[in-house]
Symmetry: C2
Subunit: 422 residues, 2 copies
């Protein structure tokens, strides 16, 4: 046996969840319940990489005599991959608690919008803010995400809605990547909503997105993905199709805000354009589900949004899983859904979508990595992957969504270094 | 103006929520929306007491020249009374995440109980545990409660179900009070469930509670309140009445687990015996609501329990408020409802019971103090009250339930000392 010079070892985990073996294709159906559990498990780390994942006994044997790796004792704790949040809106300014109160009192989305509230409030505040202000505000969000166990997050623009301010958001996201331990994966979402001045000529805005913004975003390397909100009174399926195909032409992988409020066919469009994910899906049709299953597109479900918008029906997680659609979970962090906690999202997935704790964990790790094209680096505990690892104050994996509304994270290891410890 | 020797001053609060003026009678109806807000507010503290609550300018004027109180800068933050959690079960052992999974898969309470799960699992684990173990386990819970802003909590026994182990729980709660900054208010709840061996002779257990446990608990000064679970297949209204009246005879103030799963008349019983609170109330009748309103009994609502048990209907908060029943909120922390966070409870109260943020805050502070007879000490920021104060990372009070699932507490001041700071 080769003894290794290691920098860190994690030992004695009551349950070590490897999530191994699903880096090429996402977990489907019953596979989502298989976490690759090692009891009394350990991890060996060198530099920023995982070197071995095994029982504590075998990990101890790997240590070269005389070397002194940092030891993380995970006795009575669960060890799992850093959580991945594959759908979040970042680098915006302002908050909208006033609307939260209006919604509680029965105001609809449209009433709030017409009363001068809604997304335009955030767009105005984001326009006014300097890039450095957006960075500072998002840093606070990323700090909290990290404390609650998220080690990779997707960040969407979409509060600029003109070339200058969309680029400003994406540049702020680039800055965040440089200064913050969390990896932020950028998505261009100029087609988040039709700006008020294009209300009666949305095609002009679509043209601006396609002909000006997408080429520039691609040229400057500001984003990996291109996302569109396909929704009644927002962008039509046809507009979304053209935007996403234009994105593809410029190397931006499609994502779709699909079938959230109405059954518009966003899921089918995601399949048609070969999107990497279809997100929301509260109103997805059976045909849409079949299309996602056939094309093996990851359904990113966002139960915190349904929760905070007081939706009666959540996305049909069980139906999607039964149909063979791979599921991921995300926060949908945005001014309408202010939570950084993937832990709460997992609890909501269990209670309000009837996912099992194991399914929720698969959906928040390896399947979430699939939704943002990061399975070669993160999402599971396997040799040669980045050492993004959580030690959680839970005696087993089912305990994680069971003990809710608080932070169970004991230690966050990001790229081989302790990034948070309680 | 008298200048004072102060130990601590809080300055520059964007909103300071005093909750003043409701220490004699709880907040009712529209009063629940009145938080006694001081903009640019401050608090002056000497020893463990509040000396003054005013604008920052006036608080600064109080400081005696040459004295150097500790300064807490609350710029852009909200300052409010420490949260009070008036319904929690404490000093038990074991966890029940297995049941959580069974419930997700559709098992009913009764099916879980019959399969050897449910409360009896906790009773067995609590019997086995030493008092010192119960203290250690509860300390971890109280630590988290404190971090999330709770400065006073009620703690119920009810997992002993025999004299020896009920006393052990209450003694553990007494120990916790001595060693932990949080004030724990003890409630005897021997009548939590009928132990299996009394299944066909519940009257014998009622007799044990009434003739042995209550007198001993009272004599030893182990509790202030006596609580009963009045429910179909648990304790009848008649049994509950006799137990609560016996408690009263021995100086224990009645509380009732009322109308949670069935409309049994628990609210009416609470009014009849002059209980200090009626708790749960998911199935309270109109007659029950009228009885609570007339007797001005605090309704302690527990939305986290409804959430985790996936109830379709929560307690009718709006109906209760409209009828003039004072509302308090609590976690119901117990092995079935594992959350320490009164912040999440407030968010749930808003989203799932349509309370306003201001109502939720009244319900988690001054009205919660009424539910456990502590308004002379805590529940509002007023001169001569104990300095239990939160500084929260929120620019205004509505932001507190809006930004959910994480901990917004910046600083917890308990009895005039910083007990937690992030």
């Amino acid at each position: 046996m080769t003894r290794l010079q290691l920098d860190m070892v994690i030992l004695n985990a009551a349950e070590l969840l490897t999530l191994a073996g699903a880096s090429h294709t996402p977990k489907l159906g019953k596979e989502m319940n298989e976490l690759g559990i090692i009891e009394d498990g350990g991890v060996a780390i060198r530099g920023n990489q995982i070197v071995a994942v095994d029982t504590t006994k075998n990990i101890k044997r790997l240590v070269k005599p005389g070397s002194h790796p940092q030891i993380i004792d995970a006795t009575n704790k669960t060890v799992l991959p850093g959580l991945i949040d594959p759908h979040a809106h970042l680098a915006f300014a302002g908050s909208r608690e006033r609307e939260f109160v209006q919604r509680l009192q029965g105001a609809t989305y449209m009433e709030i919008l017409e009363a001068g509230g809604g997304i335009n409030v955030t767009v105005k505040a984001t326009h006014k803010a300097r890039r450095s202000t957006l960075v500072r505000l998002s840093q606070q969000i990323l700090n909290r995400m990290l404390e609650y166990g998220t080690t990779t997050v997707e960040g969407k623009s979409g509060y600029g809605l003109d070339p200058k301010h969309e680029y400003k958001q994406l540049l702020a996201i680039r800055d965040l990547n440089l200064i913050h331990p969390i990896d932020v994966v950028p998505t261009f979402m100029g087609a988040h909503v039709v700006p008020p001045k294009y209300k009666y000529c949305s095609e002009e805005y679509v043209k601006l997105v396609m002909e000006k913004m997408i080429p520039t975003v691609a040229k400057k390397g500001l984003a990996e993905f291109c996302d569109v909100f396909a929704e009644q009174d927002v962008f039509t399926i046809d507009q979304a199709r053209r935007i996403l195909n234009q994105g593809k032409k410029y190397g931006l992988i499609p994502k779709v805000h699909a079938d959230e409020m109405t059954t518009l066919g966003g899921a089918e469009l995601a399949a048609e354009v070969g999107a990497i994910s279809a997100d929301h899906l509260l109103k997805v049709s059976n045909k849409g589900i079949q299309a996602l299953a056939k094309a093996q597109i990851v359904a990113v479900l966002l139960p915190a949004t349904a929760f905070v918008l007081m939706e009666k029906e959540y996305a049909p997680a069980r139906k999607l899983i039964d149909a063979g659609v791979p599921i991921a979970l995300a926060t949908d962090f945005n001014p309408n859904c202010m939570t950084e906690s993937m832990q709460l999202v997992m609890t909501l997935a269990c209670l309000n979508m009837r996912m099992t704790p194991a399914e929720a964990i698969s959906a928040a790790t390896i399947n979430a990595a699939h939704a943002i094209n990061r399975t070669h680096i993160v999402g599971s505990l396997e040799p040669n992957k980045q050492a993004d690892i959580l030690v959680v104050d839970a005696p087993n994996h089912a305990y994680i969504p069971y003990h809710f509304g608080v932070n169970l994270v004991n230690t966050v290891i990001k790229s081989g270094k302790i990034a948070f410890s309680c």
